[in-house]
C-alpha cells in the first residue's frame, strides 16, 4: 500500500492504537505485532513476495548465528559469501536476468552468432534492493564482529521487514536499528507530534511537489521529439524535483512513521540541492545507500588510499555499481559513470571533503561564491538526471542534443505554475536547512514562532487537499 493512499491511512492508526494501547509495555508482543503488521503491509502489494523475504530472513538469521559459533576463518568467509551470494543472487535474478540476457544476445549478434535466450516475465518484488542490502549489512557486520548476532528470530525478522522502511528505505544498519528492538519504547507526546509533522512534510513533498512535477516531466519526456530545447530542459528541471520530492518525501514519511512507534531511523536526505559541490551532494543525497556503498564496497576496495589508478578505479566502481543498483538499464549505468566523472576531480585534488557544514551557516543568504557553486552543482545534477529518467541512452542523447541546440533559446511551450510551489518548498527548506527537517518539533517556541508554525502547517495541509495530483502515483524508488 502506498503511504499516500486511503489503505495506509486506515492501516497506520489501527496499528498505532493496537501497538501502544493494547500491547502497552509488552516488548515481545510489540515486536511480534510489528512483524505481523509488516508482513501484512508487504503482502498487500503481492502476497507471493512474502516467501522471498521470509527465506532471505531465515538465511541471514542462521548464518549470523553460525558466524558467531564458527572460529575457522575460511569457514567464516564461506558463510559470509554464502549470504552474499544468496542475497545478491535473488536480487540479480529478479532485477537483472533480462538485462543480461538481452545484452548477451546483442553482444553475440555483433559476432554473427545468434543466441536463443528467452526473456522471462519476472515481477520485481517491491523493496528487494533495500531489504537485501539491509540484511547484507547485518551479516557483514557480524562477520567483522562489529555486531553480535541476534538469537531472537522475531526481533531479526522485525528488523528486516520493519514496514516504515521496508520498500524504499532508508537502508538501516543493524548496529543502529536492531538494538532498538531490544529497548523498551516509550510513547511521548513529543515523539508522536514530531512523527506526525515529519509525515506531513513528506506527504507535501510527495503528493503536491513530486506527483505534479511528474505529470509535467512525463509529458515532456514521453513526447520529447515534439519539444524544443528550452522545454526539454524544463522537463529535466521538473524531473529533478519529482525525484527529490518523491524519494525524500517517502523517507520523511518512513522516518516520521517510525517515530510514532518509538523508533529512530537515520536521516536519508539533507537538502542535497543546496550542495556546493558533487562531493557534498553525495553526502546529502540518499545517505543510507551512499554510506552503505562507502562502507561495504568502497573502503574494502581501498577507498581513497593507494595509488592514483586505484583511487580512480574505486570511484568508477562505486558510482557505476550505484547506478546499476537503481535499475537494469544502460541509462542508470551511464548516470553513475557521469557522477563518477563529476566526483573524480574533487578526489584527485583532495577537495572531496570540503563543505562539510551547512551552507551559509550563520547568515540568511549565501555568499556569491557559495551561490555560484550551488547553481553549478545543481545544474550538473539536473543534466545527470536526464540520463536517469530517459528510457534509453539514445533517448537521453536526443534530449541532450536538443537542449544544447538553438531551440534552447526559444520560449518554452509549457510553463506550469506548479513552479511556484517548487519555489515555496525550496524557500522553506532554505530557511530551515539547519534543522533535521523543516517542521522539526520544538516544544519551546515564542508566540510569534508558534503562529508562523501554525501558518506553515495549515499551508501544507491545505496544499495537500487542494493541489494533490488526483492520482495515486507510485514512489519512483519502488521500481528499484
Amino acid at each position: 500500500m502506498l503511504f499516500n493512499s486511503l489503505d495506509f491511512a486506515v492501516f497506520l492508526p489501527v496499528v498505532f492504537v493496537l501497538y501502544w494501547y493494547l500491547l502497552k509495555n509488552n516488548l515481545k508482543a510489540q515486536n511480534l505485532f510489528l512483524l505481523v503488521a509488516s508482513y501484512f503491509f508487504y503482502g498487500w502489494w503481492d502476497y507471493r513476495f512474502l516467501a522471498l523475504i521470509a527465506f532471505s530472513t531465515c538465511v541471514d538469521f542462521f548464518i549470523g548465528i553460525a558466524l558467531q559459533k564458527q572460529e575457522n576463518p575460511f569457514k567464516r568467509k564461506y558463510l559470509l559469501w554464502l549470504s552474499i551470494l544468496i542475497n545478491l543472487g535473488f536480487l540479480g535474478f529478479f532485477k537483472y536476468y533480462n538485462f543480461f540476457a538481452e545484452n548477451f544476445v546483442d553482444a553475440f549478434s555483433l559476432f554473427g552468432t545468434k543466441l536463443n535466450i528467452t526473456s522471462l516475465h519476472i515481477i520485481l518484488p517491491v523493496g528487494i534492493s533495500f531489504y537485501t542490502f539491509q540484511t547484507l549489512s547485518y551479516t557483514i557486520d557480524v562477520y567483522h564482529k562489529k555486531l553480535k548476532p541476534t538469537h531472537n528470530f522475531i526481533v531479526f525478522a522485525s528488523f528486516v521487514s520493519f514496514f516504515p522502511q521496508l520498500v524504499a528505505g532508508p537502508i538501516e544498519r543493524a548496529t543502529h536499528l536492531l538494538p532498538q528492538f531490544y529497548t523498551k519504547r516509550i510513547k511521548t507526546h513529543a515523539n508522536v507530534i514530531d512523527g506526525l509533522r515529519q509525515i506531513l512534510w513528506g506527504l507535501f513533498k510527495k503528493v503536491v511537489i513530486a506527483d505534479n512535477c511528474a505529470e509535467i516531466a512525463n509529458q515532456i519526456f514521453n513526447n520529447s521529439q515534439d519539444y524544443s530545447g528550452s522545454t526539454l530542459f524544463l522537463g529535466a528541471f521538473f524531473f529533478t524535483f519529482q525525484i527529490y520530492g518523491d524519494f525524500s518525501g517517502y523517507s520523511d514519511i518512513a522516518i516520521g512513521t517510525a517515530k510514532l512507534f518509538g523508533f529512530d531511523l537515520k536521516k536519508n536526505f539533507a537538502v542535497p540541492y543546496f550542495s556546493r559541490d558533487i562531493g557534498e551532494f553525495w553526502r546529502r543525497w540518499h545517505i543510507s545507500l551512499s554510506t552503505w556503498f562507502r562502507d561495504y564496497l568502497y573502503i574494502p576496495l581501498g577507498g581513497s588510499q593507494g595509488s592514483m589508478l586505484s583511487k580512480i578505479r574505486n570511484v568508477f566502481i562505486i558510482f557505476i555499481v550505484s547506478g546499476f543498483w537503481h535499475g537494469a538499464n544502460w541509462t542508470f549505468i551511464f548516470w553513475g559513470f557521469l557522477n563518477a566523472l563529476y566526483f573524480l576531480p574533487l578526489l584527485l585534488l583532495n577537495k572531496n571533503r570540503n563543505n562539510l557544514d551547512h551552507v551559509a551557516k550563520n547568515t540568511i543568504l549565501p555568499s556569491f561564491k557559495d551561490f555560484t557553486s550551488i547553481i553549478i552543482t545543481f545544474f550538473m545534477t539536473v543534466f545527470a538526471w536526464i540520463f536517469f529518467r530517459a528510457t534509453s541512452l539514445n533517448h537521453a542523447f536526443q534530449i541532450v542534443s536538443e537542449i544544447f541546440s538553438a531551440s534552447f533559446f526559444t520560449y518554452p511551450s509549457i510553463l506550469p505554475k506548479i513552479f511556484y510551489l517548487v519555489v515555496f518548498m525550496i524557500a522553506v527548506e532554505w530557511f530551515t536547512r539547519a534543522k533535521e527537517y523543516p517542521l522539526a518539533y520544538s516544544s519551546s517556541q515564542t508566540k510569534l514562532k508558534k503562529i508562523i508554525d501554525f501558518i506553515l502547517i495549515s499551508i501544507l495541509i491545505w496544499s495537500i487537499v487542494i493541489w494533490n495530483s488526483n492520482k495515486e502515483v507510485e514512489f519512483i524508488y519502488f521500481q528499484f
Binding site: 506548479i418 495549515s458 495541509i461 487537499v465 487542494i466 488526483n470
Partner: protein, 328 residues
C-alpha cells in the same frame, strides 16, 4: 490557555484554506482549466454556412454533429475529437470528401442542440445528425418556445426578475456562508466528488437532482426534453435525415453504473420506442474502465474514449441503408 491556542489554530487554519482556495481559483496553479481547455475555432464549413457561400452538391455526404463539451473534445487535441475521427474514417472508406459540421459546444443543453439543429439543418441539409447526449443536457432552460423566439428574433432571453424575501433561518445562513466562502464550496465539491467515485451521492446538490428527480418520467424537466426530442425526430423524419443519438457516460464513473440507473431507465425507455433513429447507450465498449477519462475527477472522454465512440458510431452508420448509395 490551551483552548485559546486551539481556537487561534482553527481560525488560522480556516483563513489559510480560504486564501489558498482563492489563489488556486485565480491562478489555476495546477493548470486544471487548461487540461480541459477549449480551443475554440470556428470551422471553415460553419463560416461558409453563416456567410451563405456554402454550395449543396448532390452526392455529398453531410453529417451534422451536436453535443456539449464531451463531443466537443474538451481536454484533447482537436484532431482527436469525434467529429474529426469520424470524418477521417468515412473519407478513407468512401474515398471522397465527407462534410462534417461540428456544432457541439461546451455547456450546450438539449435546447441549445435543438436550436443549432433547426437553424443549420435548413441550410446544410445533412444526411445524418449525430447527437452526443449527456445526462446534464437536461439542465438550464428547456422552454421550447424560447428556441423559436431565439431563431426568429435572434435576441437574448432575459431572466424573469423574482423578489427575494429576507430569510433569517439556519438554512439561509448556511447558504450565505456557502455562497461567500470559496473554501466551503471547494470542500463541498471535493467531498461530493470523492463520494461519487465510490458510488455514493449526498442527498442534495445538482448531481443528486440529476440522477434522481430530474429524470423522473413525469418530471417537468424530462417532459420538456422529450418535447424537444419529439420535435427533432419529427423534423428528421420529415426531411429524410437519419438521426443517431449516442448517450455518453461520465468517463470517470464507469465503475459506478448504479448512480445512473434512473437516468438510463428513462432515456432508454424513451428512445428505444422511437422508430427510425439509431440509439446507442452501451458502456460495454469501454473495457478497462480507468482508461477513458481525462482525470479522476473529470468525466470528459479522453483521446482513447473519442476513438472508441467514433468507431462505434461509424460501425452503426455503415449498417444504415442510406450509406449504400454513397458506396462506390
Amino acid at each position: 490557555m490551551k483552548k485559546r491556542y486551539f481556537c487561534v489554530f482553527i481560525l488560522i487554519f480556516l483563513l489559510v484554506g480560504e486564501v489558498l482556495v482563492r489563489i488556486d481559483q485565480s491562478f489555476d496553479v495546477l493548470n486544471e482549466k487548461s487540461k480541459v481547455a477549449i480551443a475554440f475555432q470556428e470551422s471553415v464549413l460553419k463560416k461558409q454556412l453563416d456567410t451563405n457561400v456554402f454550395t449543396l452538391k448532390e452526392d455529398q455526404i453531410r453529417i451534422m454533429v451536436l453535443g456539449d463539451s464531451f463531443f466537443f473534445g474538451a481536454g484533447i487535441h482537436p484532431k482527436f475529437k469525434i467529429s474529426n475521427v469520424i470524418k477521417e474514417k468515412l473519407e478513407s472508406f468512401f474515398n471522397q470528401e465527407v462534410l462534417v459540421l461540428d456544432l457541439s459546444r461546451p455547456s450546450n443543453n438539449t435546447l441549445d442542440n435543438y436550436t443549432f439543429f433547426r437553424h443549420y439543418s435548413e441550410i446544410f441539409k445533412p444526411n445524418y445528425v449525430i447527437l452526443g447526449y449527456n445526462f446534464n443536457d437536461i439542465l438550464g432552460d428547456l422552454t421550447l418556445e424560447k428556441s423559436q423566439l431565439k431563431l426568429e428574433n435572434k435576441t437574448n432571453i432575459q431572466p424573469n426578475l423574482v423578489t427575494i424575501k429576507k430569510d433569517n433561518s439556519l438554512k439561509a445562513l448556511s447558504k450565505k456562508i456557502y455562497n461567500t466562502s470559496e473554501l466551503t464550496r471547494f470542500l463541498s465539491k471535493k467531498i461530493q466528488k470523492e463520494l461519487k467515485l465510490r458510488g455514493y451521492v449526498l442527498p442534495f446538490g445538482e448531481f443528486y437532482s440529476l440522477t434522481h428527480s430530474f429524470y423522473a418520467e413525469n418530471g417537468k424537466r424530462w417532459q420538456e426534453s422529450a418535447k424537444i426530442f419529439d420535435n427533432m425526430i419529427a423534423q428528421c423524419q420529415k426531411n429524410n435525415i437519419n438521426f443517431l443519438i449516442y448517450n455518453l457516460p461520465e468517463f470517470n464513473l464507469l465503475k459506478n453504473k448504479d448512480l445512473f440507473v434512473n437516468v438510463n431507465s428513462t432515456i432508454n425507455g424513451y428512445f428505444k420506442d422511437k422508430e427510425g433513429i439509431i440509439f446507442i447507450n452501451d458502456i460495454s465498449d469501454f473495457k478497462d474502465e480507468d482508461n477513458y477519462m481525462i482525470s479522476k475527477y473529470d468525466g470528459h472522454p479522453n483521446k482513447k474514449a473519442h476513438e472508441v465512440i467514433s468507431k462505434r458510431i461509424v460501425k452503426e452508420l455503415m449498417r444504415d441503408s442510406l450509406f449504400l448509395k454513397f458506396e462506390k
